[in-house]
Amino acid sequence: MPIPQQFARGDRMGRGPYEKSGLISETSLHPGKTKKEHFEIFYPEGLTDLDVTVKLWYLPYGTMASDPFLWREVNKSVSISKEGK
C-alpha cells in the first residue's frame, strides 16, 4: 500500500486525502512487475499433513474492520514423509 506522507513533510502518515501530499513508503503492486513473498511455517506438533490457505486481502481503509475485500484465495494440502529419521 502507498503510505501517504502528511503534508509532504516529516515522518507522519496523512489521515485523509486532504492531508496527503507525499509518500513515506510504498508497497503497491506496480504494472508488469512481480512481487514475491516467502513464508515459513512449522507444522503443529504430531502432524504430517497440513492444509495451507493463502488469502490476498485488499483493505481500502487499512484494517479488516472496514470494508475488506478478499481478492484471491488459494488452498493447498501439504504432506511430508512419515518414515525416515
Binding site: 511455517i41 495451507v52 493447498k76
Partner: protein, 325 residues
C-alpha cells in the same frame, strides 16, 4: 479644491480605469469561454440549480442502456459514494479546514467553493461553476445526513441522501465540461454540444450538435480525476488518486499501450458501468497470483520438525499501480 472639482477628478479617474479594463477583459486568456455552459447559464446558487445546469436526464430517452450501465457505477453518486465519500467531506472540514490556522474556516458555514475543490476537483468538478452558497448547502446537507444516520431519523436521512445522490459525474461532465483538456488548442466546450467520437447533428433540442473530442478515447480524459498525485495548483494541496501518474510512469514507460477505456469499458464489457476491483472480471484480469508450497523435515541439530515453505508470486497485469484510484 472645491467639492465639484473633486467629483470631476473622481469621474475622470473612474472613466480611465474603465477604459483600461475593457482591453484587459478582451485580452483575457482563452477564446470561446463565453460559450461554456456556466457562462451561458450563470453560476449556480443552489444545489438544485447546479443539478439543473448539468442536467443530462434528456439523454436517457435515446441512451437508456448506457444510462443504466452508468447508474451502476460510483460515477452516478460521486459525492455520496458508498456513504464513506460523503462522510470524508465532513472529516475534511472538521479535521482539515477547521484545524488549519489560515484556511479561514471556523465552522461549516465558513466553507466556500475553493475550500472544497481539493475533493470536488474530481468528485464534483462542476462545483467550480457554483457560488459559495452551494458549497455551504452541500456541507450542511452532509452534516444533516450524518446526524440523521446517527439519530436513526430515516425521513431526514432519505431526503439528504437523495440530494447528495443528485450530484454526480454524469453525461455532461465527461461529454461536455471535461471533454476538452487542451482548450487553447481545441477550444472551450460549448453549451449545446455533446462531445464524443464523431461530428454531426444530434437529435436533441438541448444538445443539437455532436463534436469529436480529441481525448474521448484517450487515458487523459480519465486522468483529469484519476490523477497524477498532489494537486499542487491548490492553495492547500491534496493527494487522492495517483493512478494516471502510475499509468504514465510505470505502465507506458515500460511499454504499455492500452488505454483506461480499453480495459475498463471495452474488454471488460462493462461500458459506462466503469468498475475496478469490485467487478469479478476486472479483479481476475488485473492480477496473476501463484502459490507454491513445499513440505519437508527441518533438522535443527538433533531436533527434527515438519516444516512448510510457502512461496507467493503476484504480478500486476493492470495498467496502473494496485491499489490506486
Amino acid at each position: 479644491m472645491t467639492t465639484k472639482k473633486i467629483k470631476t477628478v473622481w469621474v475622470w479617474t473612474a472613466m480611465i480605469a474603465l477604459a483600461l479594463s475593457i482591453p484587459l477583459t478582451a485580452l483575457a486568456a482563452g477564446i470561446g469561454k463565453e460559450g461554456r455552459i456556466v457562462n451561458k447559464k450563470g453560476k449556480a446558487n443552489t444545489i438544485a440549480e447546479l443539478v439543473a445546469m448539468y442536467d443530462s436526464s434528456s439523454c436517457i430517452e435515446c441512451h437508456q442502456e448506457i444510462h443504466d450501465d452508468w447508474a451502476l457505477s460510483v460515477h452516478s453518486r460521486s459525492i455520496y459514494g458508498t456513504g464513506r465519500t460523503a462522510a470524508t467531506f465532513r472529516t475534511s472540514v472538521v479535521n482539515g479546514l477547521q484545524e488549519w490556522a489560515f484556511s479561514g474556516v471556523k465552522g461549516p458555514k465558513d466553507v466556500q467553493v475553493e475550500h472544497l475543490m481539493g475533493c470536488a476537483k474530481c468528485h464534483l468538478p462542476q462545483l467550480a461553476d457554483a457560488n459559495d452558497s452551494v458549497a455551504k448547502e452541500l456541507i450542511a446537507s452532509i452534516y444533516n445526513w450524518m446526524d440523521a444516520v446517527r439519530a436513526g431519523n430515516d425521513k431526514v436521512r432519505i431526503v439528504e441522501e437523495n440530494k447528495l445522490k443528485s450530484l454526480n459525474i454524469n453525461c455532461l461532465v465527461c461529454h461536455n465540461r471535461n471533454a476538452i483538456t487542451h482548450k487553447w488548442t481545441d477550444g472551450y466546450p460549448q453549451k449545446g454540444v455533446v462531445y464524443g467520437s464523431t461530428d454531426g447533428e444530434h437529435p436533441s433540442d438541448a444538445f443539437p450538435t455532436m463534436k469529436k473530442s480529441a481525448i474521448m478515447g484517450e487515458s487523459i480524459l480519465c486522468g483529469q480525476c484519476h490523477g497524477l498525485g498532489p494537486n499542487l495548483e491548490l492553495d492547500n494541496p491534496t493527494q487522492c488518486a495517483t493512478l494516471y501518474g502510475s499509468y504514465l510512469w510505470s505502465y507506458t514507460a515500460e511499454g504499455g499501450r492500452e488505454t483506461c477505456q480499453e480495459c475498463h469499458m471495452r474488454k471488460s464489457g462493462l461500458g459506462h458501468n466503469m468498475q475496478s476491483y469490485r467487478d469479478p472480471g476486472l479483479a481476475e484480469a488485473a492480477l496473476d497470483f501463484k502459490v507454491q508450497t513445499s513440505g519437508f523435515h527441518w533438522r535443527d541439530a538433533s531436533n527434527i520438525r515438519p516444516y512448510v515453505a510457502v512461496d507467493i508470486s503476484m504480478t500486476n497485469k493492470a495498467g496502473h499501480v494496485i491499489p490506486d484510484g
